[in-house]
Amino acid sequence: MPTSVMRDRIAVFLIAGFAASGAAFAQGKPADPLAVGRQLLAEDNPGDLWVQRGERLFHEKRGPGRASLERCDFGLGAGKLDGAFARMPRYFPDTDRVQDLESRLLTCMVELQGFQREEVIRNAFSTLDRNSDMEALASYVASRSNGMKMHVTLDHPREREMYKAGEYLFHRRNGPTDFACVSCHGDDGRRIRLQDLPNMTDAAQMRAVIAGWPAYRGTQGTVRTMQHRLYDCNWQMRLPDLGFASDMSIALTTYLNYSGNGAVIQVPGVRR
């Protein structure tokens, strides 16, 4: 509840002190004291541990099929990883679907490795008691596009449908809060409590945020993916559990990624 004026003054003094010590760090003066912590996390991102684990899992022969994921096609041909994530979501003729990274991993884990689809979905998001292979694999495959620009294309009619449906869904008012994504993410300078919100109808702001997913999320203590980000937002909107790899999630991802085309991918990012 409310802080007294005296505590305000002390808090301001502490923040000033922190900012002064922040100037001692090598990489330039941060604009705000919280940036010091973010900088430290960015330099030693726990998410790198997920990439390491994901690389190991990717090459390991696993599942009833005793197969690795080395033959998985992410759009550039079987086993070709460099730059694949940068072009997703995209249409895949073998499934006749537009798929994002995680739904494609799901396809390969089921078809190449023989895992049960429902079980992979059930374990897609880690908890403190159980790791998620999907999180690690997504981190690894996405990291193979690091340094490259996001480049989603809409040449296929199904890709165009996904984009337009995603645009509609982004603006769709619904639920007990009457919010659409655009309610919070539709203009500059918006903030929910103390969390700044990117304006996702602005291409530059979109590029600044989209290419950091998957990201290590401090409040979650784990890497979270775009599927989880959409799931979590859905939860805040008082809507039911968003289906993993549902068309709705992929349509929104298509819309957001396309809007962020040109962003240089750098994953795992660091988020609150």
Binding site: P2, K164, A165, H171, R173, S183, R193, L242, S246
Partner: protein, 203 residues
């Protein structure tokens, strides 16, 4: 609007807005597998939500605005006691609470009551910095406007259904959407209006 234009040769306008809407609605109907029917209903748009879904430069027509306002006015309900100004201390707790009504694993979270979500978007107590800016600051609300019955009724109705005043407002229709009870809204009104409330206390 989004700076990303669809520069694709051939069928440059496919799919059109109505097709996109139908595709989107189909996706919503399939987005919540295994969820209880009553909870999936939350994702179904009511008439005002459908009218208020506009993309890019599309805006509400005068007829649509009038319809939304009329439907919203008709939705207004008041506390059985007739008291529109309740307990400001209860209102203070509600104003800074953002929990309640969220769904995990197909179950609604256990909460004593739904928080009113006010501080997510509004500055309230001027001494509390943990408040958003999606809505205007409500600091000194009562001090600036006085404590009349008309003000209490206005504040109450605005919280119950903001769209009765501004059709398609960003503000959730907290009463009409059954997120808050009439009595809880009266407590929030008291928090905004009462001279003893931190919202109005001088520093």
């Amino acid at each position: 609007m989004t700076a990303a234009a669809l520069a694709v040769p051939g069928c440059a306008t496919y799919p059109d807005g109505e097709t996109a809407r139908q595709l989107g609605e189909k996706m919503v109907s399939e987005a919540y597998p295994g969820m209880p029917e009553a909870l999936v209903k939350r994702a179904v748009q009511d008439r005002p939500q459908a009218l208020c879904t506009k993309i890019g430069k599309a805006s509400l027509t005068r007829e649509e605005a009038a319809e939304v306002v009329a439907l919203s006015r008709a939705s207004l309900r008041y506390p059985a006691s007739g008291k529109l100004v309740g307990d400001w201390q209860a209102g203070a707790r509600l104003a800074y609470s953002g929990t309640g009504s969220r769904i995990r694993g197909g179950r609604v979270e256990k909460a004593k009551e739904n928080g009113a979500l006010c501080s997510n978007c509004h500055m309230l107590d001027p001494g509390e910095i943990n408040a958003g800016n999606l809505g205007p600051s409500l600091a000194a609300y009562g001090t600036q406007r006085g404590g009349s019955e008309e003000l209490a009724k206005y504040a109450y109705e605005r919280i119950y259904n903001a769209w009765a005043f501004v059709p398609c407002s960003t503000m959730p229709r907290l009463g009409a959407g059954h997120h808050l009870t009439p009595e809880q809204i009266a407590d929030v009104v008291a928090y905004l209006i009462d001279p003893q409330s931190p919202v109005n206390r001088r520093r």
